[in-house]
């Protein structure tokens, strides 16, 4: 570990969410403010103590400089701020950049906040359209590629190479729904079976409607500060950032080096190396689950099982309570909520709540180490964060 390592230098001292799911009539700024109020209250801090603000872009907001617009809205005058954009991986980069800013002396207390209203602020058609628009205008868009399509082609190839089955993909959705049924405020909680997934409308092969994540409204916010300041504040259950990693392998899906092994391998390797832990040490995980097959591939690339074995791993109950790695215990993007960029922040919210022991009947026993992996743009962007309690330092 180098002297400049971020390991254990910064703590998460506050977490909060807005109303989540279908929340009509609320702008992304208003949802972000609600999440921020809750995170600051959780931290026991006044907004005047926040000197850094990091956000991600909101599709349903006209403000490109969302972090700046939000600071004005919330009455915060930051001396460090940015609006980050690496698609779905943005969430994890908010944590690493926020931590680096604190460790590097750019700010003392950084608020991470993202919110969007993809469900009611944009029509579903326009929400999908806005995501599709982000693909290459010359070499991809003319062919009518839905956002699900690039991910679908990776899963399809995974099925061809490793024999992963539609039933195994469906099982991912079933597990997420079961997890969501115990999470207050989750958008979809009625139980589903493998047959329900396979009988739901085909979106783009091999993905049925229930293989795809939700479209939602909502947001989340976090308060970060230095480990030292957290101690001075007397924070009862600080959760430390122990490891961070990123990897960007391509922009166009046709330049993805392998459809079945992703940049998550390097992203996770860097995060584990910084943390000084490996996949077998993790007690709980938050894994970006935009589609069912995504989870299977990530369980492999993050090191929880061998390449090609993700399907049987899930079908064998290894990603839930009692298995190797209880993951997405809140229900994930598939069943809790997916408002776009903030979606992966809910994985952080859940893993941090698990590490603090605050998850009641969905609590993973003795959870001290957790991993969150965020990704986006057809696996173009990958970012991993490893979090731990005081005992894991």
């Amino acid at each position: 570990m180098s002297e400049t390592s971020l390991r254990g230098q910064v703590a998460v001292i506050g977490i909060g969410m807005s109303a989540v799911g279908k929340v009509p009539g609320r702008s992304p700024l208003s949802l972000a403010a609600e999440a921020t109020r809750n995170a600051l209250a959780d931290a026991g801090l006044d907004r005047s103590e926040v000197d850094g603000v990091l956000s991600s872009h909101a599709f349903a907001s006209p403000f490109h400089r969302f972090s700046v617009a939000f600071s004005e809205y919330a009455g915060i005058r930051p001396t460090f701020s940015n609006t980050l954009q690496v698609s779905g991986a943005t969430a994890a980069t908010m944590f690493s950049i926020g931590a680096a800013a604190i460790h590097g002396g750019l700010a003392r207390t950084v608020l991470l906040v993202a919110a969007d209203s993809l469900l009611t602020g944009l029509t579903p058609d326009l929400a999908l359209r806005s995501l599709t628009e982000s693909r290459d205008q010359q070499y991809e868009m003319p062919f009518g590629i839905p956002v699900a399509n690039t991910f679908a082609m990776t899963a399809h190839r995974h099925m061809k190479e490793f024999g992963t089955t539609p039933e195994q993909l469906a099982e991912v959705a079933v597990v997420h729904r079961r997890h969501a049924s115990r999470t207050p405020g989750a958008q979809q909680t009625s139980p589903i079976a493998v047959a329900d997934v396979l009988n739901s409308a085909m979106v783009t092969t091999p993905y049925h409607k229930l293989d795809c994540s939700l479209i939602s409204d909502g947001g989340a916010a976090f308060v970060l500060t230095s480990a030292e300041h957290a101690r001075a504040l007397g924070v009862e259950k600080p959760v430390y950032i122990l490891g961070c990693g990123e990897c960007y392998t391509h922009e166009h899906i046709f330049l993805m080096p392998s459809l079945t092994t992703t940049g998550a391998v390097d992203s996770a390797r860097n995060a584990y190396a910084m943390a000084g832990y490996g996949p077998a040490d993790m007690d709980v995980a938050g894994i970006y689950d935009c589609f069912t097959g995504t989870v299977i591939m990530m369980l492999e690339d993050l090191g929880f099982c061998k390449k090609g074995e993700g399907g049987p791993f899930v079908a064998d109950g290894q990603m839930t309570y009692g298995g190797c790695i209880p993951a997405n215990t809140h229900g994930g993007l598939l069943s809790f909520a997916h408002p776009g960029m903030p979606g992966s922040l809910f994985h952080f919210h859940e893993v941090i709540a698990q590490l603090r022991g605050q998850c009641r009947d969905r609590q993973v026993a003795d959870a001290h180490l957790g991993l969150v992996h965020s990704l986006g743009a057809g696996f173009a962007t990958n970012a991993t964060t490893i979090l731990g309690t005081r005992e894991a330092l």
Binding site: G144, M153, T204
Partner: protein
């Protein structure tokens, strides 16, 4: 985006990097860039070789033959412009020269598409300016 815009299919707007590529397609040729320094063959068109950074790039027509590396049949269109086209197969084709590209299956029933299927180029003139490269079964 207005509803009228959303119902129109997006068309490429050629720029300095890609004018030759789209002109090639209009003339019935799929141009790949061959690097004069390291021999790398690349798709898409740009001002430098992605392997070695050289600017000595030469356009050469592809054989037009390739294999389906992966595919996905779209049943829910990405917006109104593609609604009447479903179901259609989006292909990730590995060209005989090495590079991969995204396209769609123009050879009939999308249910006929299989992994590693041999395909060949098929030119779809969608406007006066633009011809899209699609693929059909050999």
């Amino acid at each position: 985006m207005s509803p009228e815009d959303a119902s129109r299919k997006p068309l490429p707007a050629p720029d300095a990097d890609t004018t030759a590529f789209w002109r090639g397609l209009k003339d019935g040729r799929l141009l790949l860039q061959h690097c004069g320094r390291c021999g790398h063959v690349q798709y898409y068109q740009q001002a430098m070789c992605r392997a070695c950074g050289s600017e000595q790039l030469e356009h050469r027509p592809a054989s037009g033959r390739g294999k389906v590396h992966s595919f996905s049949v779209v049943h829910r269109a990405p917006g109104p412009a593609f609604k009447t086209d479903v179901p259609y197969a989006v292909l990730l084709v590995e060209l005989a020269e090495g590079p991969r590209m995204i396209s769609t299956f123009a050879g009939g029933d999308p249910a006929d598409v299989t992994f590693d299927m041999d395909v060949e180029l098929s030119f779809d003139e969608v406007s006066e300016e633009i011809t899209l490269p699609r693929f059909r079964k050999v």
